[in-house]
Amino acid sequence: MTTRHIDLLWLFLMFATALSWWLAEASPGAGVTGVVLALAFLKGRTVALDFMGLRGVRRPWPWLVGGWLVVVLAVIAFTFLQAPAA
């Protein structure tokens, strides 16, 4: 990992945050929900793999934290599909 690499990741995270912030104003819908959750997944993945340094670490680890992210976001997605905003 180089400093340049880390800086680029930070730029990406900033950009993704700006996008979700902008989507907060958008009218709610399944599409928006999907995009926001996908952004959250990408951001979380970056933090787990690159900042926490789990990329390339042996098995259960990246998998445990990644699994956490997937399960939590999947349950959230499921409940929003079940009960979409009015």
Partner: protein, 202 residues
Amino acid sequence: MDTSATMTLNQDDTVEAAPLAPPGDLAVWFFILAELLVFAVFFIAYAVARTHDVALFAVMQQTLDPDAGALNTVLLVSSSWCVARAVLAVDGARLRTGARWLLAALACGGGFLLVKGLEYADKFAEGIGLSTNTFYMFYLSLTFFHFMHVVLGMLVLAVLWHGVRRGHYRRGRLSGLESGAVYWHMVDLVWLVLFPLVYVLH
């Protein structure tokens, strides 16, 4: 979990970090997993409770300030970035730079607490509390629990800053620094789910 094999690994803390074990101390990782589990249960409880009263949650979410939430995301993500830079700097024996990055991370953390504190002050001034309704029960509990983690994480960062200045860490002896760093990234990671869930999705 395969603790028996990994626990022996920590005895080789001094060995150059092979990408086998996660950075930092195994005990800290165990702790982080437990914390993630607590937050997961909290998030899922929120999401399920919301399905029972979608209208209430939709209306109440409108009373939050997404700008404050977004600003706080920027602050936390940036502080995580600063910490990652700090670890790299110390690894490269640039201790002064490392200490400065940690200070920057602390400043971002302080900014987060300030913004969140102003949000709370606003709500309390309106007389909102845990018993106002289910949404606010969750909003206050969840964000306050996270708030306390930011406070704890900042204490850890302060200790690391002190350690870096004293020259406690260097290449091959980064375990303490890395342990604190992953804890802070965990606080960030949790917020990255909390922010869209509470502020954005409705």
